[in-house]
């Protein structure tokens, strides 16, 4: 067996890639994808520990997490649709009315 920390490090790297993408990418759809990345990184964490300690609880939790990710993605894309309707593009950069 590989040491569990390897899996955790992979999950951390994926999480950070997702964070970077959320902070940087201009398009709303890309941001949604990066959010999914972050959720998946957390799932990797859960599975790594579940498999390491031969437990099933982790797998169940991942199931819930995936379902919730799907729900949240649906809502997110609905919001993106509203934005697209008013601005005709999904550049999150231009939504800055609340600035100084």
């Amino acid at each position: 067996m590989l040491p569990v920390s390897y899996y955790l490090i992979v999950a951390a790297i994926v999480f950070c890639i997702g964070v970077y993408g959320v902070m940087t990418l201009r398009s709303g759809i890309m941001i949604m994808m990066c959010i999914e990345l972050m959720l998946n990184a957390a799932n990797i964490n859960l599975i790594a520990f579940a498999s390491h300690f031969s437990q099933v609880n982790g797998h169940v939790f991942v199931l819930f997490s995936i379902a919730l990710a799907a729900a949240e993605a649906a809502i997110g894309f609905a919001i993106l649709m509203s934005i697209f309707r008013s601005k005709n593009n999904v550049n999150i950069d231009n939504i800055n009315i609340l600035r100084w």
Binding site: V19, V22, M23, T24, I31, I92, D93, I95, N96, I97, L98, R99, W100
Partner: protein, 672 residues
């Protein structure tokens, strides 16, 4: 019946008169003038009763009530206070009667009578007070009434300005006086209070308490305190350099000038020094200052009185000069002890009579001719006989005309009261002083001032009453209320001094126990004569006849000089008496005091340097700091606000940064 029970009425009745006149004066005949007259007459009677009681029993009247902590209010009538009381009430009464006639045409009569009643009450408060704090309170009230009365015709700008000038100048003196009281209080509390074991409450500022314990106060402090007290007297009595308000104070009605600036208020300064005389005895340096300032003022003011053309201003400078004589007499106390108080007070009382008479005569002249200017008067003697004769008597008194040497034969001096009192000061005080200490300067001051006094006094009389009328005016004699008062005052001016010389001095000198005075003088390092009056008589009797004749020569010589110049016109002063002559110009411009005090000190120095510097530093530095802090914060905010871009992703960046930092800190704590 002891007078003690009713002495509180002496100041209380005029206060009541003030209130009543102010409230009801408009409805009463002659503006409610009879209310103060009645009140002051009763006060006068009570004062005489008090005097009789003290004269008989020799015990001063003391009435006192607790105020708070170590302070009290009370009335003290010892011989010194009782003569002052009688003079103040009597002269005030006469001047009120005169004012009924003088102010008859003035619409603001109730205000006038109310203010003079209040003034009389305040002056009586000064004379009667038995502790120095109450003295100061009444002193301030006197100053306030003086301001109100000088600016009586306040719609005239010069009168309003004169009132303000008087108040501010005396204020300088008052501040010094108050500083002296505060220092005295702290000294009393620190040095005296531990020694007085109290069965009963002891009042720290009461005169009796102070005088019994002077030996406990350090002499350096005592000198400072007495100098500050003298500073207050300088302001109120118009000594150099705070004399500048008195000539301007002639803007008020003439009766005000007579009451306040001849007889009563300006004498409060002399009374202060006389009242606190034991303290001055124990600090002989202050007495020297008193003598020199007084003597210098006597000479200084009489030089300026020579060139004035306004009848009241000549008399104003004369007042300043005579007050200088009184201070000079007090200053001789370092040699002659408590007798100095007697001489000064004697001159004070006599001066009150003849100076009030002079002012009231001037008022009569102004009332009838309608002008103040001497150059427009002349030949009034034929039309105004009573005024002319009374003014002549008063002028003789002011110039000090009398017959020397007769006192050895008859037992009392013969001459006008001014002669008796001025002679007493010049011979008995300054000559004895010079004889003992070989310091001839006070004597010289006295003689020179006497000469100049005689010159300007008779210049005034000759210019006003003799010669041809210079202008077309129709003078008439004044009504009986006015001339009656003039006559009474003139008679007093003539004979009072003669008749009361010896008993007066004995009476007033009994105020201060000679033994205690000697003890205090030794404290000051200046042992004085055992029995002053005896020594004085001895010295004067053995003086050379020239010395004794000198004051009379000065007086008569001045009279003759004035007669020659202004009546006979054998010598014309037109060539030296105009502005091209530099000496005359200096005198006429009053030694450029206006320029020095106001232009130089006030405007250039105080305003230009101090005020503008303070304003600059306040505006630039203080405001600069505040504005700088605020603009710094605003500038910082302008920079910091750029963080809020409104783009959600940047907020996400910030969140992640924060989380990372927290994780870092926590993990570090875990590891280490």
């Amino acid at each position: 019946m002891a007078v003690d029970n009713i002495v509180y009425l002496i100041p209380a009745l005029p206060v009541l008169a003030f209130v009543l006149t102010l409230a009801f004066g408009k409805k009463l005949p002659s503006g409610g003038g009879y209310i103060p007259i009645l009140a002051i007459a009763i006060s006068c009677i009570i004062s005489v009763l008090a005097f009789l009681q003290i004269n008989e029993t020799g015990v001063p009247i003391e009435v006192s009530a607790h105020w708070f902590s170590v302070l009290n209010v009370g009335i003290l009538i010892d011989p010194l206070a009782s003569v002052m009381l009688m003079m103040v009430t009597f002269v005030s009464l006469l001047i009120h009667i005169y004012a009924i006639g003088y102010m008859a045409h003035d619409p603001a009569k109730p205000r006038y009578f109310a203010e003079t009643a209040l003034f009389t009450a305040a002056m009586l408060g000064v004379v009667l007070s038995d502790n120095i704090l109450q003295f100061f309170i009444a002193w301030e009230l006197v100053g306030l009434c003086s301001y109100l009365l000088i600016g009586f015709w306040f719609r005239k700008p010069s009168a309003a300005a004169a009132g303000k000038k008087a108040f501010l100048t005396t204020r300088v003196g008052d501040v010094l006086f108050l500083a002296g009281i505060v220092i005295l209080f702290f000294n009393m509390r620190e040095h005296v209070l531990p020694h007085i074991t109290g069965h009963e409450t002891v009042y720290l500022l009461q005169f009796s308490t102070i005088f019994e314990n002077i030996h406990l106060i350090p002499s350096g402090q005592l000198t400072i305190i007495t100098l500050l007290f003298f500073g207050g007297a300088v302001g109120k009595s118009g000594q150099f350099p705070l004399h500048v308000w008195l000539p301007d104070a002639m803007e008020g009605p003439t009766t005000v000038s007579a009451l306040i600036h001849a007889a009563t208020m300006v004498t409060a300064g002399v009374y202060l020094v006389a009242r606190t005389f034991p303290m001055f005895i124990a600090a002989p340096d202050s007495l020297m200052v008193v003598a020199y300032v007084g003597g210098f003022t006597a000479l200084f003011a009489s030089t300026m009185g020579l060139v004035m053309n306004d009848i009241k201003r000549v008399l104003a400078f004369s007042t300043i000069s005579q007050l200088g004589y009184m201070m000079l007499a007090l200053g001789m106390g370092s040699v002659i002890g408590a007798a100095a108080v007697g001489f000064a007070m004697f001159h004070l009382i006599n001066h009150a009579f003849f100076k009030a008479c002079l002012f009231l005569c001037a008022g009569s002249v102004i009332h009838s001719t309608g002008t103040n200017d001497l150059r427009e008067m002349g030949g009034l003697m034929s039309k105004m006989k009573v005024t002319g004769i009374t003014m002549l008597f008063a002028s003789l008194a002011l110039a000090g005309i009398g017959i020397p040497f007769i006192n050895k034969i008859v037992g009392f001096p013969v001459g006008t009261s001014g002669f008796v009192s001025k002679d007493a000061i010049i011979l008995d005080a300054t000559y004895v002083f010079a004889h003992m200490t070989h310091d001839w300067i006070p004597f010289a001051f006295g003689i020179l001032a006497a000469l100049l006094t005689a010159i300007y006094t008779f210049r005034l009389w000759f210019m006003a009453f003799t010669g041809k009328p210079r202008q077309e005016r129709h003078p008439h004699e004044s009504p009986a209320t006015m001339t009656g008062v003039l006559s009474i005052l003139a008679i007093f001016a003539l004979v009072f001094g003669m008749l009361t010389f010896v008993p007066f001095l004995d009476f007033v000198n009994s105020t201060y126990d000679p033994e205690k005075i000697n003890h205090l003088a030794e404290l000051g390092g200046n042992p004085i004569l055992e029995d002053p009056m005896h020594e004085i008589h001895h010295t004067v009797d053995h003086a050379s006849p020239i010395i004794i004749l000198l004051p009379v020569i000065a007086g008569v010589g001045g009279l003759l000089l004035a007669w020659v110049i202004y009546n006979r016109r054998w010598i014309s002063v037109a060539s030296i008496g105009n502005m091209r002559n530099p000496l005359f110009a200096i005198l006429a411009k009053r030694y450029y005091q206006h320029e020095i005090f106001i232009e130089l000190i006030s405007l250039k120095f105080t305003y230009g340097v101090l005020a503008l510097t303070s304003e600059f530093s306040d505006r630039k530095i203080v405001d600069g700091i505040i504005d700088g802090i605020s603009s710094f914060i605003i500038g910082g905010a302008e920079v910091l606000k750029k963080i809020q871009t409104g783009v959600v992703q940047n907020y996400a960046t910030a969140t992640v940064l924060g989380v990372g930092l927290i994780a870092l800190i926590l993990s570090f704590r875990e590891v280490f």
